[in-house]
Amino acid sequence: MPNFEFGGKSYDVDEEGYLQNPEDWNKEMAEEIAKTEGVEMTEKHWEVVNFLKDYYKEYQIAPMIKILIKEMAKMFGPEKGNNKYLYELYPSGPAKQACKIAGLPKPTGCV
């Protein structure tokens, strides 16, 4: 199994870099994972990741993108509640990048 090296320790990840043990996650590590995606975490990025983590904590699932968009609009205003904004923060898509940085399970489903 591939590893992710961080802070002198080695963590299990899958081929795409998703953490295999959710309890390994911490904020500093998230910033390092983000760098592997070419993403520099700012406050705006954390708004999305924190929402995902809160949602996951409450429902044990990642939200559908349409729900992420709606909730972002409710919490932070319409200029942050749209797909374009999310792709500016996470250029390869919020499902792929933000979930990975948040340490959530890799999204599945029919491709």
Partner: protein, 362 residues
């Protein structure tokens, strides 16, 4: 690797190129003004426009999974015989579009010398639409490309010749996800799993969403549970229909079982709205073993169904229409296929297929 400049310069959302530049001048000039078509011979079409102009089409087979060598070869032929213009059909055939009638026979000659059969028009078997199988899919219960190859090796004469009552459309899907129009084909070959997914309780809580996994089951057979103090799921095995949807949602529930995975055969589906309209396929053979590399049980079963249909169907009668006329009892007796308990539906709308009249053939 692409440089940052290249990344910035690249355009997104340009969409597919407009089709106009890929159309032969005869097609452009007569776009929307075609008058009629004729099948000159099996695999060769002639479309005549109101202007009197004609475009000829030669339809050839392809195995769908093709190398760039194959593509370059058909491109060479297209340049040699049809000004570089070609297209594909929704059933993976290659169509060469010719302005010059005299080029038809030399083109066919070259194709056939290189092992590429010409046909698939009119009352024949066209190419098989199929899915990825073991070649490229995680949920495959069988291999699609292999099945297509062995079945078409048997049926190739019906591709090359229009010798059937009506067109016959075959499709292969390697699991119930059915990435091909298997559920509406004259004959469908459907890979299936037959055993309950095995739960990896160690990985499941880490990589799967438990509520999504529970919700994925069409029969409510999956419940959340705790195993050794850790969250996981359990399956009510009596309710599992082996659809594999839970595995699609949760990778920690693999369903593949080499000993029990296999193939089922379905008949009588159709897409076109002609005559009695579109219909789903119905179960003919509940299970045949996976017996690669040449699946002899499957090829002989398909050949049998095709030959019985070829002998008994009337002109323009698709498989579904032939069976409707003679009745399912006769279908099973003519083909010698055994009718079993598995043929009787027991899912949601099961009752709709029970016979609710005393009218029946003896």
């Amino acid at each position: 690797m692409a440089t940052l400049e290249e990344l910035k310069a690249r355009k997104t959302d340009i969409g597919p190129p407009p089709v106009e530049k890929f159309l032969h001048s005869i097609i452009k000039e007569n776009y929307g003004k075609w008058r009629y078509h004729e099948i000159l011979k099996s695999g060769v079409l002639a479309h005549t426009a109101e202007s009197g102009a004609v475009i000829y089409t030669v339809r050839a087979a392809s195995p769908r999974l093709i190398s760039t060598d194959f593509i370059r070869y058909i491109c060479d032929l297209a340049e040699k015989y049809c000004d570089g213009y070609l297209r594909f059909t929704s059933r993976n055939n290659v169509e060469f579009l010719l302005a010059n009638k005299d080029n038809i026979e030399p083109l066919i000659g070259e194709l056939e010398n290189n092992g590429i059969p010409v046909g698939g028009t009119g009352r024949s078997i066209s190419n098989i639409v199929h899915t990825q199988g073991w070649v490229h899919c995680h949920s495959a219960a069988t291999d699609a490309s292999g099945l297509v190859k062995v079945v078409m090796d048997e049926l190739i004469d019906h591709f090359k010749n229009e010798d059937l009552p009506a067109k016959l459309r075959i499709a292969v899907a390697c699991c119930l996800n059915m990435c091909g129009a298997v559920h509406c084909s004259d004959i469908a070959i459907l890979g299936l799993h037959r055993t309950v997914p095995k739960i990896d309780n160690e990985r499941l809580p880490k990589i799967c969403e438990i509520p999504s996994t529970v919700a994925s089951c069409p029969n409510a057979a999956i419940r959340p549970t705790f195993i050794d103090g850790k969250k996981s799921v359990k399956i009510d095995e009596d309710r599992c229909m082996y659809c594999g949807n839970c595995y699609t949602v949760c990778p920690a529930m693999p369903i593949a079982d080499p000993l029990n995975d296999g193939v089922s055969i379905w008949v009588g589906g159709k897409v076109a709205n002609t005559r009695q309209g579109p219909s789903f396929t119905k179960l003919a053979i509940p299970f045949l073993p996976n017996n690669p590399p040449r699946w002899p049980e499957v090829t002989s079963a398909i050949k049998n169904i095709v030959e019985v249909y070829a002998r008994n169907g009337k002109k323009y009668e698709r498989m579904a229409e032939w069976i409707d006329r003679i009745g399912w009892t006769k279908f099973f007796s003519l083909t010698g296929i055994q009718f079993t308990k598995y043929h009787i539906d027991d899912f949601k709308h099961a009752g709709l297929s029970y016979r609710r009249t005393t009218q029946m053939r003896s």
